[in-house]
């Protein structure tokens, strides 16, 4: 309930002062693709194991395709890898591999000389695989979700050829898959096919009471040429899933990255 209220407040807060403004320029109007590398801090707490946080350094690669003639259409994919440890482990032994696929469509709702605001919808598919050999060497852990939600982009031209972009996305309804808290078999099928099958099992559906996904990104863009823009970014993501027969899972990621739009 508290999370629902928070998201409602955030949207009300950012959407509440929309007024018509004059036309403006944007850095990415002639650009359709971007690639990025990032590094960050990853924390995950899977209560199917225990209530302690696994954390560690995360590395990632991302690719986006976007079109911004007036409204904003974007498809993006991201692969993240992290080695994790709890406070009990001297070295990281757990692993996290994540694949994010995002699609967004947002309408330009607000324009001024130096900024634009887009509001729209997003569809997200997220696959997350974990291995916790010190805690459970025999079972697969995962947290997958396919979510529909809201998205917003705020572009602010702070100087000639310099722009800040703020992105905020929140899921509203999710179809998600998590392992059951109590598993009847000693060892999961750890073959590729077995893991893939597991990661598409035990589905649940829920709104904010069961599934929360929040995504915040701040990007500083520097236009190098009409066809090339460089950006430095900070991203924060929070997700929480809790199924009918699985305990709560939460994850926070903080990433900084370098991005090239072309």
């Amino acid at each position: 309930m508290r999370h629902t209220l928070l998201i409602a407040l955030l949207y009300g807060y950012f959407g509440g002062s929309l007024t018509a403004q004059a036309d403006s320029t944007q850095l990415l109007k002639n650009i359709n693709n971007s690639i990025a590398i990032n590094i960050g801090w990853h924390q995950v707490k899977d209560e199917n194991i225990h209530r302690k946080v696994h954390e560690g350094v995360q590395y990632g690669l991302a690719y986006s395709h976007l079109r911004t003639p007036k409204n904003r259409l974007q498809f993006s994919s991201q692969l993240q890898y992290a080695r994790l440890r709890t406070e009990y482990e001297p070295t990281p032994t757990s692993t996290s591999v994540q694949l994010y696929l995002h699609g967004n469509y947002a309408w330009r709702c607000l324009e001024a000389e130096t900024y634009q605001l887009y509001l729209g919808a997003s569809a997200v598919a997220q696959y997350r695989f974990y291995s916790f050999p010190n805690w459970d060497e025999s079972h697969v852990y995962w947290a997958d979700d396919i979510s529909l939600g809201l998205s917003s982009y705020f572009d602010w031209q702070i100087a000639d050829k310099r722009q800040l972009m703020v992105t905020f996305q929140a899921s509203l309804v999710s179809l998600f898959s998590r392992p059951a808290a109590y598993r009847n078999q000693k060892i999961d099928d750890l073959s590729f096919g077995g893991v893939l099958s597991k990661m598409h099992s035990n589905w649940d559906i829920g709104t904010l009471n069961k599934a929360i996904g929040l995504h915040f990104k701040l990007e500083y863009q520097i236009e190098l040429s009409a066809q090339l823009t460089q950006a430095f970014s900070y991203t924060a993501r929070y997700h929480r899933l809790e199924g009918n027969n699985s305990a709560a899972w939460q994850q926070i990621e903080h990433n900084v990255g370098v991005q090239l739009y072309f």
Binding site: F14, H50, K186
Partner: protein
């Protein structure tokens, strides 16, 4: 607008997950009547030192070395005197994997087969039970049932690599164990492994003409009134002898009490008492576990004239005949031993709590 986004940035920059207490707040250890035939008693009524018991329960509730703890139950004089489920109160009703404690149940069922004269002797070579499972290495034909019970079959079965293959093999699980290299003369070297109990399970299946799981139902679980349990079979239908059994904690207590009563339950002898006496004596030492004294799939605690079933996660069922004591500790089962192997600290407290 811009200030608002800056606020959101500050909010997100400071977001992080926090470790939580791993168990419920301390709720004590007074058992509740569940109408399951366990008679309840207070520690004082059974001459137990409550302060030492409390120390044991404080460990499982709040000491981080026991963060995977799921239950601790203490039975004295056949009565349940203390009980707690520090992770989730509903664990009282849940079956949970007891891991390698399963091996001790397999050993108990050898005693049940001996009691019913379905087995003649544990000195019989395994080759006599299932000759078709053996490969061409004739030396393996000398391995006896007792060798398998002492983890001295001489086969190069490595748990870290071969347990998963044993679990997933579509062929004969016994054949898979027996095809491992014959590294030592049977009966001379002890190597703790999950292959040997599979050989024992197959002997029991062969002699009782049914999977071990069915023999266990008829000759152990049903007589003890244990209704909620599950035991996995290999893909060839042979019940896993080393792992795969799930039980409720109170039902594990019944197994311990059966051992304390030398195989007798409700005035009927279900397990051969002379076999149990042998199984709970020191026959070897486990080199991989600080030369721990070992019987026939029982871990021996000579300083207390006691013994235990032991499984991953630090789980144990302690049987201390001198104190007329049984204790059950269950825990999240798969952790690295470096994080859980503290059972002797609990066992010391529990045994010393008996006046």
């Amino acid at each position: 607008m811009k200030k608002r986004y800056l606020l959101l940035l500050l909010f997100s920059l400071t977001a992080c997950l926090q470790d939580q207490q791993f168990s419920l707040p301390y709720l004590g250890y007074t058992p509740l009547d569940q109408n399951d035939n366990w008679q309840l008693a207070s520690p004082a009524a059974e001459q137990m030192d409550s302060s030492l018991l409390e120390q044991a329960y404080e460990l499982v509730y709040s000491d981080e070395r026991f963060l995977m703890a799921r239950s601790l139950l203490v039975f004295r004089n056949g009565k349940l005197v203390a009980e707690a489920y520090p992770n989730d109160l509903d664990d009282i009703q849940k079956i949970y994997p007891i891991q390698s404690c399963t091996q001790s149940i397999t050993s108990i069922l050898v005693g049940a087969a001996l009691q019913q004269q379905l087995l003649d002797s544990i000195q019989t070579p395994l080759y006599d039970y299932y000759p078709n499972e053996f490969d061409t290495d004739n030396r393996k034909q000398t391995i006896t049932l007792e060798d398998a019970l002492k983890m001295q079959a001489g086969l190069a079965f490595d748990n870290s690599r071969q347990t998963k293959v044993l679990y997933t093999t579509k062929g004969s699980s016994v054949g898979y164990v027996l095809q491992q290299d014959y590294k030592f003369v049977a009966g001379t070297q002890t190597k703790y492994n999950n292959g040997a109990p599979q050989l024992v399970s197959a002997v029991l299946s062969s002699q009782t003409q049914q999977p071990l799981v069915d023999f266990a139902r008829q000759n152990l679980f049903t007589p003890l009134g244990i209704e909620h349990w599950q035991w996995e079979n290999a893909k060839d239908g042979t019940t896993f002898g080393a792992f795969g059994l799930q039980l409720r904690p109170r039902d594990l207590g019944k197994i311990g009490q059966l051992l304390l009563q030398k195989g007798s339950w409700n005035n009927q002898q279900w397990i051969d008492s002379s076999y149990l006496a042998e199984a709970t004596q020191i026959h070897t030492y486990l080199p991989a576990f600080a030369t721990a004294p070992y019987g026939y799939y029982f871990w021996i605690i000579p300083q207390y004239h006691a013994y235990a079933m032991v499984g991953d996660g630090g789980q144990f069922v302690l049987v201390a005949p001198d104190q007329n004591l049984v204790a059950v500790y269950t825990a999240g089962a798969y952790t690295n031993p470096a994080f859980f192997d503290n059972r002797m600290e609990l066992i010391d407290l529990l045994i010393k709590s008996c006046n």
